[in-house]
């Protein structure tokens, strides 16, 4: 920030103390992240080397135990992303390019309001309002579209399916995807937009020719950050899903794959012995999955230096 100085300023004790303490604070963050990895690893080892009888659900090895959970995590998050992505892009475009300038910011606040609702409240809403609401639709889907493997009968009678979870998760990740895409849409060079409009393009043609190509990498990383959020979401899954140990793509059935986070929340309070270690180890797997996805997303975002302030 300051220019290169040829004269060396006198180092005062206050300066030394202050700069040292800020450096230490920065290092504490690195140490904390390292400690997360180390302590989770240390507590995970007993589960990974455990025998066949000690784990829940009759899994022979830890990997057999965690595989369906990892599948469920990815599957639920993917459903959420498929639902949330087009809606979020739509909202972001609406706020950045369609809504009247004066109310656009207010609309942004309204969407941010969704992010302020605690996840446990979403869970309560999902199970008490959304699940009963969608159950009749699931019945219709399985009777009419049952030939599609995703909707193969029988339908769940409670609505506590992976699709319901996906919908609630989608609502929860819409604000983050919207916020990031909105920022990026607003950074489109105005001259490009005006050039497109001046050549007679309709607003959609302007957006598809000037805005979208400019924003594509940012949109992709926004989607990945949303995916990362959905992967780690716990309470909604724990409260809404009726879990089972299966690998199944059926969206509307009564036997749904549990997710890592939901499984931990449901079983941790009364787990003991190696089961605790197995849950922690599954948490480590979740940590690694989200770490990879978030890192890739961040690298894509950071490549565009002008954009900062994700979140």
């Amino acid at each position: 920030m300051t220019t290169v100085r040829t004269i060396k300023a006198k180092q005062r004790p206050g300066d030394r103390v202050f700069s040292a303490s800020t450096t230490i604070a920065g290092c504490i963050i690195l140490a904390a992240l390292a400690a997360v990895a180390v302590f989770l690893l240390a507590e995970s080892v007993p589960a990974v080397v455990s025998g066949p009888d000690e784990l829940r659900d009759g899994a022979d090895t830890f990997w057999a135990y965690v595989a369906p959970l990892a599948f469920g995590t990815l599957w639920a998050a993917l459903i959420a992303l498929v639902i949330a992505f087009p809606i979020s892009i739509g909202i972001a475009l609406f706020i950045s390019h369609y809504a009247p300038r004066r109310i656009a910011q207010g609309l942004g606040y309204i969407v941010d309001l969704l992010a302020a609702v605690p996840s446990v409240v979403f869970g309560l809403w999902g199970i008490k309002v959304l699940a009963p609401l969608v159950t009749p639709f699931y019945q219709e889907l399985t009777t009419n579209l049952g030939w599609i493997p995703l909707f193969s009968p029988p339908a769940s009678g409670t609505g506590r399916t992976v699709l319901t979870v996906g919908i609630v998760l989608a609502v929860m990740i819409i604000p983050i995807i919207t916020a990031i895409s909105r920022e990026i849409f607003l950074q489109t060079p105005v001259l490009h937009e005006e050039a497109a409009l001046a050549l007679g393009a309709t607003r959609w043609e302007m957006i598809s020719m000037a805005v979208i190509p400019f924003a594509r990498p940012g949109i992709i990383s926004a989607a990945m950050l949303g995916l990362g959020r959905a992967l780690g979401e716990t309470m909604v899954v724990a409260m809404v899903l009726s879990p089972a140990v299966v690998i199944s793509f059926v969206l509307t059935g009564s036997s749904n794959p549990a997710t890592i986070a939901g499984n931990i929340a449901l079983n941790f309070p009364d787990a003991y012995g190696v089961q605790v270690n197995a849950l922690i180890a599954s948490g480590l797997v979740l940590f690694v999955i989200t770490l990879v996805i978030n890192s890739v997303a961040r690298i894509v975002v950071n490549r565009r230096k002008a954009f900062s302030g994700a979140n």
Binding site: M1, T2, A9, G14, V17, F18, S19, S21, T22, T23, A25, G26, C27, I28, I29, L30, A32, A35, V36, F39, L40, A42, E43, I87, S88, I91, L107, V111, L114, A116, V117, P118, V120, V121, G123, L124, L130, V171, I174, T202, E205, I207, G228, G232, E233, T234, M239, A261, I264, A265, F268, P269, G283, F287, T290, L291, N294, R298, N302, N311
Partner: protein, 360 residues
């Protein structure tokens, strides 16, 4: 909406285009039609309570189709595609609002049932069935979140100062990157970390206590504090620093007396928002702070109830009279939302009132 001439005279520029009121009229019409259809199905006794949400939803979809067909007939395919996207974009916004409205409505309506003095003045100790309240949970939430704030704010703020004022080279780059990564840590992993840390430290495989919750929450809170403070420190004009240096003020005093006071409003806003973000966290507290029905003022000993966990517990482990437990859960949810909204409001007010009157 359209770029046509604004005068009311019919000229060649506006022919072959839909009038300005057409989309709005069509939207109102579609909503009316959908409302009638929904009312009819309701009267026929199909699904028990199909409501206004369904009417608006299907009406909007009907509008999307109608406007495209109409536009294609009158304005041509390019305009029709533009209309389609416009209506889809608006629809996306409306669709996202529906859950928000439904959620707030449900929480307020259901939460008011037990939003009384007893809820805020008693714990759940020895309560089976009716009565009882969430005082112990509110207390626990305040204590645990307060402790998390005490840990996070100094670390986060100092790190932000390091990144903006001192940090150069690889260490700063690494911290920036890992702070970004930390924002993506799943909350339950933070809880597991705090549990693993203290279980190994105290050699107690069943450890549950409030301070562990604070550690887990600060892991989630620090990156938010760092990010927001960093942004705020960055926008402090460099001229202020240079003026201070020119007067011979040491760097650390420049930061403490010039840079931070200039950015304090933004920093306070960011900190308040970060508190509002972690105060609703459930999963880590479920893991490491546990459940209890009694008051506990000691962060370092014994299980401690928090408001989100209280909501979850009332829902998940009801007694014989389920409705009583659900009412308490909804009231807890309402209280939680009110706290979060209040924090958000305070943050915005702080930003508005205390922001320095610099050139913006």
């Amino acid at each position: 909406m359209t770029t046509s001439a604004t005068t009311g005279i019919a000229n060649s520029l506006t022919t072959g285009r839909l009038p300005k009121w057409a989309p709005w009229g069509l939207l109102a019409g579609s909503w009316a039609v959908a409302a009638v259809i929904v009312a009819l199905t309701q009267a026929a006794g199909e699904p028990a309570d199909f409501n206004i949400v369904a009417a608006i939803f299907f009406g909007t979809i009907l509008f999307d189709i109608a406007i495209v067909v109409l536009s294609a007939l009158i304005e041509g395919s390019r305009q029709a595609r533009d209309r389609l996207v416009t209506s889809l974009v608006v629809t996306a916004f409306v669709v996202a609002l529906l859950p928000l409205v439904s959620l707030l409505f449900t929480v307020v309506v259901n939460g008011l049932a037990r939003f009384d003095l007893e809820f805020f003045s008693s714990s759940m100790r020895n309560v089976v069935g009716e009565g009882g309240g969430g005082l112990h949970a509110i207390m626990g939430t305040l204590l645990i979140t307060g402790m998390a704030a005490i840990i996070s704010i100094p670390v986060g703020l100092l790190t932000a100062i390091y990144l903006v004022e001192y940090g150069r080279g690889r260490l700063a780059a690494a911290i920036t990157f890992f702070v970004d990564v930390m924002t993506g840590i799943p909350s339950i992993v933070a809880g597991l970390f705090a549990f693993a840390l203290f279980a190994l430290l105290f050699d107690d495989p069943g450890i549950r206590f409030g301070f562990g919750g604070s550690v887990a929450l600060s892991l989630l809170m620090i990156p938010v504090v760092v990010r927001s403070s960093e942004e705020m420190l960055k926008i402090v004009p460099n001229e202020l620093r240079e003026a201070s240096y020119a007067l011979g003020v040491p760097k650390w005093l420049t930061i403490v007396k010039v840079v931070i006071p200039t950015a304090i409003a933004g920093i306070a806003t960011g900190v308040t928002l970060s508190i509002s973000r972690v105060i609703g966290e459930t999963a880590p507290l479920l893991i490491v702070a546990g459940f209890t029905t009694s008051m506990n003022y000691d962060l370092f000993a014994g299980r401690m109830m928090t408001l989100p966990v209280f909501v979850y517990n009332q829902y998940a482990n009801p007694g014989t009279d389920v409705q009583v437990y659900l009412d308490r859960a909804w009231t807890g949810a309402l209280t939680l939302i009110l706290i979060v909204m209040a924090l958000n409001l305070i943050a915005r007010l702080v930003a508005k009132i205390f922001s320095p009157k610099l050139g913006r």
